[in-house]
């Protein structure tokens, strides 16, 4: 791993804190509402961060610590918060994520919750431990998915069932865009296979205008579906890093279902690019026993044809890729596939697996041109990128400062997109998503060349 000069302080972080990821997950579950056990500011800051991306209401409750709470423990506040949320929102589930504050004072949340009278048919109270001083928002996301899956599928809960004519698959997509989630649902519809997608915030965080106020927006994975995960035929987790983590023995939602109920787990990377999408579809074929529909073969055909048409504009171009480690890995794999060298692959995450994941996905001949950095912030990234003369940067809108300072275009992808509309509608995955990314990248490079040219031809 290349090491940049290390600074003690983080300057313009390329990561958010753990509870944010957890809060997002609970917005992807039907009737669920996140509750952060900590100060008021945490939930307000995360709300505005998420709202600025999704342009939708994103309610996150807080147990609202005061000085006394911090001294005497947050049990009473947490209980009061839960009661008030139930009264105002009548949620099906409250997702309780801790913060640095409640973790450090040592609140025993499972104990506090076990003391709450929760009879049959009452609100599910799911706890996920997300101390902000460990990991990033991505860890918070995965931990929340794991917590919900484990909570809804306790050991021994599986009821023997009649063989179903229709296969049922659990899919843990990771932190994808709304449009990505909708695309996954479309694929499973086309495969005539029942899908349990967790989380699915694609409707809740991008719905139509309202006639009346919705305390909790419609949409999200139905809780009863999550309970049925133990009956599924297979699970799929997207993300090369996530796969690496589960190999290292860290539990994920998929490994828990495998351990408890012996449900087979496949873990392809995020399907960006032809090769990655091929792997994704072949994994799908394997678990659903359905052939890839003609529609997707045609999408694939058109995509490769587009690669050919645009090959010269992208070949040997250099890119800075940043964001969550899984996202960076998938994106770098795609860029390499079209001849772009991802000269700088950086993430604020520190799983220790990024280098390995990239080594697996990148072709041998370009590997020595690729600088990989985990635990990197945007200021270090800019310093490192300066020496590599990249042609463009690709990642979330927080890289705008970097791209502006380096005078290179930015292709906005991932999360968050705070300076444009439609960030949640960007499609990244599958042949169709790759097509859109490819066109955007080519056009960005062409547009840039045209804009800085003294001649300014109106043809290519």
């Amino acid at each position: 791993m290349n090491t940049a000069k290390s600074y003690t302080a983080t300057r313009n972080a390329c990561k958010m804190c753990t509870p944010l990821g957890a809060a997002l997950v609970f917005h992807g579950i039907e009737g669920a509402i996140p509750l952060l056990h900590g100060s008021q500011g945490c939930s307000t800051y995360m709300r505005r961060y998420l709202i600025s991306h999704f342009k939708e209401p994103v309610d996150i409750a807080s147990s609202n610590f005061s000085e006394e709470t911090a001294i005497f423990g947050g049990g009473a506040n947490l209980k009061l918060a839960i009661e008030n949320i139930i009264r105002q929102y009548s949620p099906g589930m409250i997702g309780i994520a801790t913060t640095c504050l409640s973790e450090t004072i040592g609140d025993d949340v499972p104990m506090i919750l076990s003391g709450m009278d929760q009879g049959e048919g009452r609100t599910d109270l799911v706890h996920v431990s997300t101390p902000s001083y460990t990991g990033t928002h991505m860890d918070g996301f995965h931990h929340a998915v794991r917590a919900v899956t484990a909570y809804c599928n306790p050991l021994g809960s599986r009821i023997r069932h009649k063989p179903k004519p229709r296969k049922r698959i659990n899919l843990f997509p990771g932190m994808l865009s709304n449009e990505d989630l909708r695309h996954l649902k479309e694929i499973f519809e086309d495969l005539d296979t029942k899908l349990i997608l967790l989380p699915d915030y694609s409707e809740r965080l991008e719905g139509p205008s309202w006639v009346e106020y919705h305390a909790i927006q419609k949409g999200g994975t139905p809780i009863r579906d999550i309970r049925d995960m133990s009956l599924s035929d297979a699970s799929m987790e997207l993300g090369a890093l996530l796969a690496g983590l589960s190999q290292k023995g860290e539990k994920t939602a998929g490994t828990i279902l495998k351990e408890r109920f012996d449900i087979p787990l496949v873990s392809p990377g995020i399907p960006i690019g032809v090769k990655a999408t091929d792997s994704f579809f072949s994994a799908l074929e394997e678990i659903t026993l359905k052939p890839v529909p003609e529609k997707y073969k045609r999408q694939r055909g058109r995509l490769i044809d587009a690669y050919v048409d645009g090959n010269k504009y992208v070949s040997k171009k250099k890119a800075v890729v940043y964001g969550e480690e899984d996202f960076v890995t998938a994106m770098a794999g795609f860029l390499a596939e079209i001849g772009i060298i991802p000269v700088l692959c950086a993430s604020g995450g520190r799983s220790g697996l990024l280098k390995q994941a990239l080594t697996q996905i990148l072709p041998q001949n370009i590997r020595d041109q690729v600088h990989v950095h985990q635990g990197m912030d945007f200021t270090q990234m800019e310093e490192a990128a300066k020496k590599l003369s990249p042609d463009f940067a690709i990642g979330n809108s927080k890289g705008y400062t970097l791209s502006r300072n380096l005078k290179i275009p930015l292709v906005r992808t991932g999360f968050p997109i705070h300076d444009r509309v439609g960030g949640a509608r960007i499609l990244h995955i599958g042949y169709r998503g790759t097509q859109q990314l490819f066109d955007t990248i080519v056009n960005t490079l062409l547009g840039n060349r045209q804009d800085i040219s003294t001649v300014g031809y109106a043809y290519m």
Binding site: A9, P19, I82
Partner: protein, 458 residues
């Protein structure tokens, strides 16, 4: 379609009030209710807001990464020079720091950052966790200050230690300490001079206001804080008058400066024609031996008002009778907004604030028409409930209120610190009117389901 009633939590009932209905005794200044999705932030947020526009200072957030990430470059506080304030610095505490303490890391981070960025001062913001693990931030600051030779100031802004208001206070304490420390040993007042307090240069507003004072013949010694430099504060104590906007945040500093340096203060607002004019006249009348200043002020107001009135009249014709809802941080801003909206012919049907006090709400009540809903520390459900009940056309608020307004199909005007357009002064009033006009008269509202019940696709 029948509307489901939205209930108000029992414990919040005395923070909601409808003018004309009940005995007026609004409860406010309370901590937010647990589980209620408050639109408020925390102590840290209050401190960050006040000190952020000191552009050549280092602002280091001591804690895990979140607090710094979520506040990176989110405000439209412009600088005419250094832009160090736009960087997001964090000690990014990890698990081991929590166990062994973060003091060493903080010290090292400060030395390194001061070495690279050469700031004129440094602020260290304590976040929740620092208050728990017990880092002696003041001691670290003192040590670094001695070696680095610049003021290094702790800001005691642990998120849970109160509300946003306590954050203002923590920031004012730090700011006063900076002012007192940088003070030159010249006690004489600078003639005809003021400090501007509570003006953050959002979208360049400070520049607009400064220009007015220049034309009036008033010298602005320092701004706290908008496009500010550390060295500006060396003469702050020599100003004749402190002119305080955003009174919720900076009044405590003004009081301290009155006590320590004998500088009196007045409260003003630079929002809307009436309040801007009043602010300038109030400052002019503070210098009674100089009638020429009052003359210049009157001339300025006449010219500026004349320049924008024709357009305002045109806009008013379209906005007349439309209903507006206001939900802002400080109540003082709400007063100005009500007046400005009246100027545009609009009716205010809901008004609320995150941090208003009893007097503020009493004044709000006097300013509003019967039937107006007044809210303290509201949550999204309450805001939505009353916006619907009152059938508002426009919502004025911040980034967290925007999706509520849009989801329900009404226009929105951002009056928070994230906005990029100046709304202060006469020029600001024109921008405000234009923005409201643009959003309220957009044809898209004709298509939203709440207004157009026929679903054509069915």
């Amino acid at each position: 379609m029948k509307m489901k009633p939205i209930s108000i939590l029992e414990d919040r009932k005395n923070q909601v009030f409808t003018k004309g209905d009940d005995e007026f005794d609004i409860s406010c200044g309370k901590k937010s209710l647990a589980g209620s999705v408050s639109q408020r932030a925390c102590v840290f947020c209050g401190s960050r807001v006040v000190l952020y526009p000191i552009t050549d200072a280092l602002h280091l957030v001591h804690g895990p990464i979140g607090c710094a990430s979520y506040t990176w470059d989110i405000r439209g506080a412009l600088s005419s020079g250094p832009e160090l304030h736009r960087m997001s610095f964090s000690t990014d505490l990890s698990g081991t720091d929590i166990i062994y303490g973060g003091e060493k890391k903080l010290e090292k981070a400060l030395f390194e950052l001061i070495d690279i960025y050469r700031p004129k001062a440094a602020f260290v913001y304590c976040t929740c966790i620092v208050g728990i693990i017990g880092d002696d931030v003041a001691a670290v600051c003192k040590k670094v200050e001695a070696k680095a030779g610049i003021p290094v100031l702790p800001v005691h802004s642990e998120g849970f230690k109160g509300t946003k208001k306590d954050g203002y206070k923590a920031a004012c304490d730090a700011l006063f300490s900076l002012i007192d420390r940088s003070r030159e040993e010249i006690p004489e007042k600078i003639p005809l001079s003021i400090n501007i307090l509570g003006e953050f240069n959002i979208g360049g507003e400070t520049w607009i206001i400064r220009e007015y004072y220049k034309r009036m013949g008033i010298e602005v010694v320092s701004v706290m804080t908008g496009d500010s430099r550390v060295e500006d504060f060396s003469s702050s104590h020599r100003a004749c008058l402190n002119v305080v906007q955003c009174s919720g945040s900076l009044t405590c500093l003004a009081q301290k400066m009155e006590k320590e340096y004998g500088i009196p203060f007045i409260r003003v607002s630079y929002f809307g024609i009436e309040d801007t004019s009043k602010a300038l006249y109030d400052v002019a009348s503070f210098f009674p031996d100089r009638p020429d200043i009052m003359e210049k002020t009157a001339l300025l107001v006449r010219e500026e008002v004349a320049a924008i009135l024709p357009e305002l009249y045109e806009i008013k014709a379209d906005l007349k009778g439309k209903r507006a809802a206001i939900y802002v941080g400080g109540a003082f801003k709400a007063f100005s907004l009500i007046k400005a909206l009246k100027h545009l012919g609009m009716e205010v049907v809901l008004v609320g604030s995150q941090t208003g006090n009893k007097e503020d709400y009493a004044l709000l009540k006097d300013m509003c028409n019967p039937g107006t809903v007044i809210l303290d520390d509201a949550n999204p459900l309450e805001l939505a409930k009353y916006v619907l009940e009152k059938d508002a056309h426009l919502f004025i608020g911040g980034v967290k209120e925007k999706p509520i307004a849009y989801k329900l199909g009404l226009g929105f005007c951002d009056h928070n610190h994230e906005r990029k357009i100046p709304l202060a002064g006469f020029e600001g009033m024109k921008n405000f009117a234009r923005e409201i006009h643009e959003t309220v008269s957009s044809p898209v509202w004709d298509l939203v389901p709440r207004k157009c019940f026929v679903d054509v696709l069915k």
